[in-house]
């Protein structure tokens, strides 16, 4: 589902943010990317969503070779990738419902369908009762769950999350991570960048470990 082939990324003339990274993630896999700050976790996720282009190497996401995706094709590619951000990036001038509905409005889904899917997504993250609230009225954990509902509402085949629990306490973090783990069970490919090794260990999924832009370990737990 996600395939990196000797991918390198260099910003300006500096050091490589990623160098010669290769890996393959199958559909329905839940994978963590970890490493110290600046190891290249965020860069790796940005390359998948075409926020950045690789300096060298090939990336394939959901059967699309990204080097072939031109500027005008980027929105369509991103509609197949649900993105979750550390600071959730909700739009505070509209309700929770409208925030979650945005990807579907963008994709041109019919209104009845939007209503159903938004409620289903909010139900999944346990926030159905908050659909009319403003994001600013919610707690940090709730805001992040709205962000996740927005990422899954269009049922994208791939979800990427950049430090989704960075601002949350351990218990909320565990809840959020378990939520992500569930998506894998229904066939969605999930890639989560996190430096919370303790939490990652508890979830027991595959882990890619980056160090100074290099992939130094691809840890797969023994099948349960």
């Amino acid at each position: 589902m996600i395939h990196f082939d000797k991918v390198s990324k260099r910003y300006g003339a500096g050091q490589d943010a990623l160098s010669e990274v290769s890996f393959e993630i199958d559909a329905g896999e839940v994978v963590f990317v970890t490493g110290h700050s600046g190891a290249g976790k965020s860069t790796l996720l940005k390359l998948i969503g075409l926020v950045e282009r690789p300096t060298r190497g090939q990336i394939t996401v959901n059967h699309a070779q990204l080097s072939n995706v031109r500027r005008r094709g980027i929105p369509q590619l991103r509609r197949d990738i649900g993105m979750v951000f550390q600071d959730h990036r909700l739009l505070t001038d509209r309700t929770v419902f409208d925030n979650v509905a945005l990807p579907m409005i963008i994709a041109g889904t019919s209104r009845e369908e939007i209503g159903k899917r938004v409620r289903a997504a909010l139900d999944k993250v346990g926030l159905l009762s908050k659909e009319k609230s403003s994001p600013t009225e919610l707690s940090a954990g709730e805001q992040q769950r709205v962000g996740i509902a927005r990422a899954i509402v269009a049922k994208p085949p791939v979800i990427i999350a950049d430090e989704p629990t960075g601002n949350l306490d351990p218990q909320l973090s565990a809840e959020i991570m378990n939520l992500f783990a569930e998506f894998g069970a229904v066939g969605t490919t999930v890639l989560i960048a996190s430096h919370d090794l303790h939490l990652i260990k508890r979830i027991g999924k595959r882990v890619l470990i980056l160090d100074h832009g290099k992939l130094i370990d691809d840890y797969r737990p023994a099948a349960p």
Partner: protein, 342 residues
């Protein structure tokens, strides 16, 4: 808009690459069922509704800023409109003067009484003359006394200094500065001075031509100002929403989708500004209607003024809306590149 198929065409499915990837990529398969024509047009409509209402909501969220912008636009657009109306009326009023074709013939002082009437009779025989009116010195003096207010001063004169005057109306408007009729009267020994106002009419024509151009230039400059005001307003709006735009682009919004609410905002600014300009113009018409009516009454209502007609009003609204849209388009064009790599 059928952005979807366009976008899909742009995402080329993993083509056979020169260097074969280690893992064979799956053949191209439709990732999502193609939407029916009806569903697509419904989606298109929904997206426009979204842009339409979200742009209105944005304007309503900042009523003071919006009102100020609309006021500024309204006055900027009202200016050329008022000039244009004033100019149009000036042209209509001068229409009668432009048509003036009478030739005024002042006779030599010695041509009096019978001789003057004979000259008039000679002219009446000509085919190109429609009418000849004789004004005797007595009539002339009476008229002068009435119009000039020099009545008392004129009483001092012992003799009437005015000559006989023939007012000749040609059958058709003569061409040129010195048509044959005028030339022949000039050549006649009995005529002292022949007044035919070709020069003056040409000058009037030039003044009107200048007025027309001046109105066009002012209108063009103020239209440009409108474009820039709206463009700048939308640009500030875009800057205030950088984060929102970035989020939308990250979750797959096309440039068109991001841009649409801003284009609608520009359209609204133009529309409201145009409507306000019309209100200003109509208000100005009402304000000057009273005194103007009295002025026209003194002319026995021989002059009629025209206000703004419905067609011009519609054109003004349409043009200002279009200007607003264009301003927003220009302002948004360069901001759309943000959020994309390369």
């Amino acid at each position: 808009m059928t952005q979807k198929p366009q976008a899909e065409r742009n995402v080329r499915k993993s083509a056979p690459a020169p260097a074969p990837p280690p893992a064979p990529s799956a053949p191209a398969e439709p990732r999502r069922p193609r939407l029916s024509m009806r569903a697509r047009s419904a989606a298109w409509r929904d997206q426009h509704f979204y842009g339409f209402f979200s742009s209105l909501g944005r304007l309503a969220a900042r009523p003071w800023a919006t009102a100020l912008t609309v006021l500024m636009l309204g006055f900027a657009l009202a200016m050329p409109l008022l000039f244009w109306l004033a100019f149009n009326n000036a042209r209509d009023l001068s229409g009668g003067l432009r048509e003036a074709r009478e030739v005024t013939v002042f006779l030599k002082p010695e041509i009096e009484g019978k001789a003057a009437l004979d000259f008039a009779a000679d002219l009446r025989k000509r085919e190109d003359v429609a009418e000849v009116v004789v004004r005797t010195p007595e009539q002339g003096l009476a008229e002068f006394r009435q119009l000039s207010g020099f009545g008392d001063a004129l009483d001092i004169l012992k003799d009437n200094p005015l000559p006989n005057v023939l007012v000749v109306t040609p059958r058709s408007v003569p061409d040129g500065d010195n048509p044959p009729l005028v030339a022949e009267i000039r050549a006649d020994a009995r005529a002292d001075l022949v007044q035919y106002d070709a020069t003056w009419r040409r000058r009037l024509s030039d003044i009107l031509g200048f007025g027309e151009r001046a109105v066009a230039v002012i209108a063009a400059l103020l239209a440009l100002a409108t474009l820039l005001v709206i463009g700048n307003t939308v640009r500030m709006d875009i800057q205030a929403r950088t984060e929102e735009i970035a989020v939308m682009q990250l979750i797959g919004a096309s440039d068109g989708f991001v841009r649409r609410p801003f284009l609608y905002s520009g359209l609204w600014y133009g529309l409201f500004g145009g409507a306000l300009a019309l209100i200003i113009v109509i208000g100005a018409e009402f304000a000057i209607a009273g005194p103007l009516d009295r002025l026209l009454a003194s002319y026995d209502h021989r002059l009629a003024l025209s206000g703004l007609d419905i067609v011009s009003a519609v054109v003004v609204i349409a043009a200002s809306s279009l200007l607003g849209w264009a301003g927003a388009f220009l302002a948004s064009a360069r901001h759309m590149a943000a959020g994309h790599p390369e």
